[in-house]
């Protein structure tokens, strides 16, 4: 881990912890543990999700919205049974390539190593459907429809009051949430 990555990693962990404590109970963490999965699966998925969408200066990462539990619950409830096998395959592929590449489990890698493992996996040709697409789709959905993602990473306006058709976009302006 170089110095920059180390700093980022520290910021991530500290930031996530602070946010975790301040989060309201309306997160997936408050829901029942998803049937058929163990804590290790959920922890690994949360780390993967948090690598896809990490904490940055202005908003927390996907780990702060209990993304692992969201992905597992959504997979159980909203997808055909085959999606569970696809997701399992993804978790074991990612664990295997972490070991192969760095001799460690994904959770023991630093942020840069995690990003490398996932970037390589995303572009790797594996049996269809590609498990990473499933993980990414649900990470994106779960994060941007969570309170932290919608209100801090995007702009959330539940009652806009009007539609304005021509608004000058500032350089830092983010997209609208749902």
């Amino acid at each position: 881990m170089n110095r920059r990555e180390a700093l980022r990693h520290t910021a991530l962990v500290a930031g996530a912890a602070a946010l975790w404590a301040s989060l309201p109970t309306r997160t997936w963490a408050a829901l029942a543990a998803p049937a058929g999965w163990d804590v290790a699966d959920e922890t690994l998925l949360t780390l993967i999700g948090d690598t896809i969408i990490p904490a940055t200066a202005t908003s927390p990462g996907a780990g702060a919205v209990a993304i692992g539990r969201f992905i597992l619950t959504q997979t159980n409830d909203c997808f055909p049974p085959e999606a569970r096998a696809t997701l399992r395959r993804g978790l074991s592929d990612i664990t295997a390539s972490s070991q192969q590449r760095f001799g460690k489990n994904f959770s023991a890698l630093d942020v840069g190593q995690r990003e490398r493992v996932l970037t390589e996996y995303e572009t790797q040709s594996v049996a269809a459907p590609h498990p990473f697409r499933h993980i990414k789709e649900l990470t994106v959905l779960g994060y941007f429809t969570a309170e932290a993602g919608a209100t801090q990473a995007l702009r959330y306006d539940p009652i806009p009051g009007a539609f304005r058709g021509s608004v000058k976009r500032g350089p830092g302006d983010r997209s609208w949430a749902l």
Binding site: R8, R26, T27, L31, T51, I52, I53, P54, T56, T73, Q74, D77, C78, F79, P80, V111, E115, L118, T119, E122, T123, R133, K136, E137, V140, L141, G142, F144, T145, A146, E147, A150, A153, L154, Y156, D157, P158, I159, P160, G161, A162, F163, R164, G165, S166, V167, K168, R169, D173, R174, S175, W176, A177, L178
Partner: protein, 571 residues
């Protein structure tokens, strides 16, 4: 006669008027009849839905929904038909009929989307409201497949009547193909839409791009505020029910107005089995109702009956209203009841990317799109297909949803997918279909529903004309998107089944000739004059417009006629 009850029990079951159905047209019938002083019974087969109180998801944030709007798989697999509807999701599913609740037989594939509750589909409609033009009323006779017994000019004051009350936003565009109405201010276009409008109208003299017209209070007038309704907040969560009453529904507008007269009796859980025919008077005497919960049968009596059960259920009730005089269904002396069902052809859509406009964005969520009134075969037949289509447009910037297919991970990925993405422009069609005798519904001889009523058989399909019209739309759409400067243009035929448009019309069509139609120019059954049909079932053709506004205007007009005839002693 039943209209002069002599016992308390009979009085409780006797009204001046009965309205079957509480959706968009039934709500109007109830309002107009109650306001004219008639004691009116509204029968609704579903549960009660009170404005505001019964919109449980209306104010929920995305994170308040257990699956963030996606439906759990057990609901999806149990509802192969309802799930196809774009508006059926975790926040709205309670307003849609589940497939198992009311099965039907599909002789040809047909997706029947229904809302059984007080307010019906007026809670979950798309709220787009355009008047028909004279070309739409005159077209069927010109093209030789039908004849409207009324003209645009006759309906125009009734359009005004319903528009003022409902609140319709739009621009005064001055187009003969899409007449102006009584408008509240129109919604704005975004910068790419303005660009598209200029390019298309510059390149094609006969094609007009206008802002959509919809039943949303953009600037409520005193009479809307008096209804307890407020300004549209541009949330675009309409299918959950609007807590502001900003879009028009029976629940927010017509039923409260009817109730305010003291003349309304609203009876939910009342499945109408049939309309009762009295041989002695030659008229309907009332209706037979089966309680949706207890399955007990009851009868109610009135001097007039308005049938507003929504197109196919209106057909079903009339077909099931069999008597010695009408063995094939009420008013059905010629076997045409249930035939000439038509719908809108929604199969075609296009998409293209737009470069530039990087600094331009928008705020709020607009509940309408741009429209292009029909420009095909307007004044004369000029293509290889009959009739035409309206086009809907919209432009917008890609949002976070594109993150699922954007490569990469980490902070740079996150930054990229939280910024407004490139612009895209989309187009879809709303094509007229020609009512054909073979497109029909009838009663099942084998299957009954949970209330002992025969199930409906649907035999409704596309025709070659629909394929040619679709092909033309995709070609014209492509040339228009090219004129706009769109790149990577994609054309699509969804091949969706009839029915998914949720614009089913006909089966009890209006017409001058009693031998070729079921209803006269006042929506009365030719053969049973105190029965009025004013929902989609009455339509002689479909036009290219969203139909609900026309159902409303026809209903108000027919109700006024019914009241006048009652006063004259003719009914």
């Amino acid at each position: 006669m039943a209209n002069h009850p002599t016992t308390a029990g009979a009085r409780e079951h006797t009204f001046d008027a009965i309205v079957i159905g509480s959706g968009i047209s039934g709500g109007w019938a109830a309002k107009e009849l109650c306001e004219s002083g008639l004691r009116t019974l509204v029968l609704e087969r579903g549960r009660d839905v009170k404005h505001r109180d019964d919109y449980p998801t209306a104010l929920k944030n995305p994170w308040d929904l257990p699956h963030r709007g996606k439906l759990p798989r057990d609901i999806v697999t149990a509802n192969p038909i309802a799930k196809k509807c774009y508006a059926f999701d975790e926040a709205t599913a309670h307003f849609f009929v589940k497939d198992a609740e009311h099965p039907y037989e599909q002789e040809k594939p047909y997706d029947w989307i229904r809302g059984y509750q007080v307010g019906g589909k007026s809670l979950i409609w798309a709220r787009q409201t355009q008047r028909w033009s004279r070309f739409d009323f005159e077209g069927p006779a010109r093209d030789g497949f039908g004849e409207w017994p009324i003209t645009y000019d006759e309906l125009a004051p009734w359009y005004s009547h319903v528009e003022r009350f409902a609140g319709i936003s739009g621009n005064y565009d001055g187009l003969e193909t899409l007449p102006d109405g009584e408008f509240l201010p129109a919604w704005e276009m975004n910068d790419v839409e303005k660009h598209a409008q200029a390019k298309i109208m510059g390149a094609f003299a006969d094609r007009h791009v206008i802002q959509g017209r919809c039943a949303h209070l953009t600037a409520p007038k005193p009479q809307h505020l008096a209804q307890g309704r407020g300004k549209c907040q541009a949330r675009n969560l309409c299918y959950r029910g609007c807590p502001f009453g900003a879009y028009f529904s029976s629940n927010s507008a017509t039923l409260p107005a009817a109730a305010a007269t003291g003349n309304l009796t609203l009876r939910p859980h009342s499945v109408v089995e049939s309309i009762l025919y009295d041989d002695a008077t030659g008229r309907a005497s009332g209706v037979r109702v089966i309680d949706a919960v207890t399955k007990q049968s009851t009868e109610f009596f009135a001097r007039i009956v308005f049938v507003n059960a929504a197109c196919l259920n209106t057909n079903l009730i009339l077909l099931n209203s069999r008597s010695a005089r009408f063995p094939a269904g009420l008013g059905n002396d010629h076997g045409l009841l249930g035939h000439h069902i038509a719908f809108h052809n929604y199969r075609g859509s296009l998409w293209g990317s737009i470069e530039g406009f990087e600094d331009s964005y928008y705020s709020g969520r607009r509940p309408t799109q741009l429209m292009m009134p029909n420009f095909r075969n307007v004044r004369k037949q000029e293509t290889d297909f009959q009739r035409g289509y309206m086009v809907f447009f919209g432009a917008g910037r890609a949002g976070w949803q594109s993150g699922a297919s954007t490569p990469g991970v980490g902070a740079a990925f996150k930054d990229r997918i939280t910024r407004p993405g490139p612009w895209g422009i989309s187009m879809m069609m709303q094509g007229e279909t020609v009512p054909r005798k073979e497109n029909h519904v009838r009663l099942s001889t084998a299957q009954k529903d949970a209330w002992g009523i025969p199930q409906l058989v649907t035999s409704i399909g596309y025709h070659d004309n629909d394929e040619r019209l679709l092909k033309d739309f995709l070609a014209r759409g492509q040339e228009m998107l090219e004129a706009v400067g769109a790149k990577k243009i994609v054309t699509r035929d969804s091949k969706q089944n009839p029915g998914l448009d949720i614009h089913e019309m006909g089966g009890v069509r209006m017409g001058r000739d009693p031998k070729a139609s079921l209803l006269n120019r006042w929506n009365q059954l030719h053969a049973c004059s105190n029965v009025f049909v004013t929902d989609g079932a009455c339509m002689t053709s479909t036009g290219t417009q969203n139909p609900s506004l026309t159902f409303m205007a026809l209903t108000a007009r027919a109700a006024q006629h019914a009241v006048a005839e009652l006063k004259k002693g003719h009914l």
